[in-house]
């Protein structure tokens, strides 16, 4: 009855979501007098008990700095910390653990590439190619690189469906393109981009490629070798791990060539007052004491996910999104923003005559948590002519069809106020 284990073969049976929900203590609470309906998973996912236990266990029983002191606790901490790196390496199929650098999250990972690669390797008239769908985290660092180097930012436009215009992309990729930086899944609209195809196109002109995987890791299997990207950035807290931890995968040759970005302790092999020799990968990019507990707990999140049948859970998420889209379509005056070829995670919409913020307030009073506004993608909202932004409902596998029904009923109720 509960085919949620990784080895389940019956694909027709629905996973027992109610049992899985018990792994997430945050979900079982009353908000504004109603059972919480948490549909803001693209902002951050809730954490399973095993992740909370890993954080607690580290600080209670192990707490010691890594790679330094020669005592028992430090050895334990270092082993757990490096073990977590290997878990993440396997999760994204990176060739070696040292090609996975711990960062605070996607934003820091992209900044690392912008400062350590972009600032050094780009020059005037080089082109950085991004898309209209990008989150500010995959726009603003490149603007800084462009301002400092004279490189130019080019933007792949959208089709009316919200999908990238691949014909335009093919034309935009040219001999001046030095970097393609592209989101795998749009946080604002839930569009899944054909990143593999874009990377292959970029490869033909010798451009370096970076994938912003923040919205992909919690929903899709990620294989960086299959994608053949040069860099892959992600956040732990959007894949059931803690905040303040994430990572950057990079191809070895590039990482070896890149100078360190932040400097200090941990990232050096020898320091005199005259000169410093930098440590090897990955440590040369991990200055200072890292988020040890966060990395270990993210490893626990990966163990947790790997123990579930993710194919079934993805199907479940898909059926939730289908139900939401169908329900919204049946409401007069509701406009769904983006009808992508492949959708993951989120549905954005607007309601005629109702400001997104007003709708979110009235949903919050009914215990329904979702996001309103520009979703850190102001250029996208401008391109879509949505000055007030949108309402975004974003799912995780622990959401239920009852919660989708509650959202639809909540919207119906909210509209009666106007």
């Amino acid at each position: 009855m509960i085919p949620v284990s990784a080895h389940s073969t019956d694909r027709h049976m629905a996973p027992d979501i109610l049992t899985l929900r018990r792994d997430f203590p945050t979900l079982a609470q009353i908000v504004n007098g109603h059972p919480l309906v948490y549909l803001d998973n693209a902002a951050t996912t809730q954490k399973p008990q095993v992740v909370l236990d890993a954080l607690n266990h580290y600080y209670r029983d192990t707490n010691a700095n890594v790679h330094r002191a020669s005592h028992a606790l430090s050895g334990q901490a270092t082993r757990a910390f490096e073990q977590a790196r290997i878990k993440l390496q396997r999760f994204i199929n990176a060739p070696a653990p040292e090609q996975l650098i711990w960062t605070r999250g996607t934003t820091e990972a992209i900044n690392l590439v912008a400062y350590s690669f972009g600032m050094h390797r780009l020059k005037a008239d080089d082109e950085i190619l991004i898309s209209t769908l990008e989150h500010h985290a995959n726009i603003v660092p490149w603007q800084q690189v462009a301002a400092a180097t004279g490189a130019r930012i080019r933007v792949i436009p959208l089709m009316p469906t919200g999908d990238l215009d691949m014909q335009a992309a093919a034309q935009l990729i040219n001999s001046r393109t030095r970097l393609l930086a592209i989101g795998q899944v749009s946080n604002a609209l839930g569009v899944v981009n054909p990143v593999k195809q874009l990377i292959a196109l970029a490869r033909t002109v010798g451009a370096v490629t970076l994938v912003d995987g923040a919205q992909a890791m919690g929903h899709l299997p990620v294989d960086v070798q299959e994608l053949d990207c040069d860099f892959y950035a992600f956040s732990g807290h959007k894949m059931y791990g803690p905040t303040g931890i994430g990572g950057l995968y990079g191809k070895r040759e590039l990482l070896e060539q890149m100078p360190p970005w932040q400097t200090g302790g941990e990232m050096v092999s020898h320091v005199s007052f005259e000169q410093t020799r930098f440590n090897r990968l990955p440590f040369k990019f991990e200055a200072g004491t890292p988020n040890i507990a966060g990395a270990i707990a993210l490893g626990a999140a990966v163990d947790y996910l790997s123990g579930l049948n993710r194919t079934l859970l993805a199907q479940h998420e898909h059926s939730l999104l289908d139900a939401l889209v169908t329900g919204l379509e049946a409401m007069p005056g509701v406009r769904i923003i983006g009808r992508p070829y492949v959708r993951v995670g989120a549905v954005s919409f607007v309601v005629e005559e109702v400001h997104p913020q007003d709708l979110a307030t009235l949903l919050d009073m009914q215990g329904i948590a979702l996001r309103t506004g520009h979703h850190c993608a102001m250029p996208l909202m401008q391109a879509l002519g949505l000055e007030q932004g949108t309402i975004r409902a974003s799912v995780a596998f622990y959401n239920t069809h009852e919660e989708i029904a509650a959202l639809l009923a909540g919207i119906h109720k909210a509209r009666e106020f106007f």
Partner: protein, 139 residues
């Protein structure tokens, strides 16, 4: 001109919300109040009058007459935010700087059961509006 602080005072607002039972009645009351606050003319919906810290757009106009009484006018493209602004104007508009400084906004919003909207973490920017009014009156 608008009625808030003039014919609709904070006493009226307190009475209105005391009679409103349940969150539905309170938010319906807010939306009704928003309708009584006239829309600002396009010429006033400009960056110089904009209040930041709101997920919705918001504007504040102010003037002080020769007797030292302040008149404020607010607008927002979100209806509930605009209703919350009307609640604030009922207490702070048509008042002297001393009255404005002495007014306990927290206690007022707590009594109305709308205190969560004054929280600095809230995206509606109501706190920014209250602070902008207080700063203006102190100047």
């Amino acid at each position: 001109m608008h009625p808030f602080g003039d014919t609709i005072t904070d006493t009226d607002i307190r009475a209105l919300f005391n009679a409103a039972h349940g969150w539905e009645a309170r938010y319906k009351a807010l939306i009704k109040l928003a309708k009584q606050l006239p829309t600002l003319a396009e010429e006033h919906r400009v960056e110089a009058n904009a209040i930041h810290g709101c997920e919705s757009q918001a504007w504040l106009l102010s003037e002080q007459d020769e007797k030292g009484v302040w008149q404020f006018h607010c607008d927002s493209d979100a209806r509930i935010v605009k209703g919350l602004m009307a609640v604030v104007l009922a207490a702070l508009s048509n008042k002297t700087a001393a009255d404005i400084a002495a007014f306990d906004m927290e206690a007022y919003f707590e009594e109305l059961q709308l205190l969560n909207h004054l929280s600095p973490s809230r995206g509606n920017g109501l706190r920014a509006v209250v602070e902008a009014i207080k700063t203006k009156a102190e100047s």
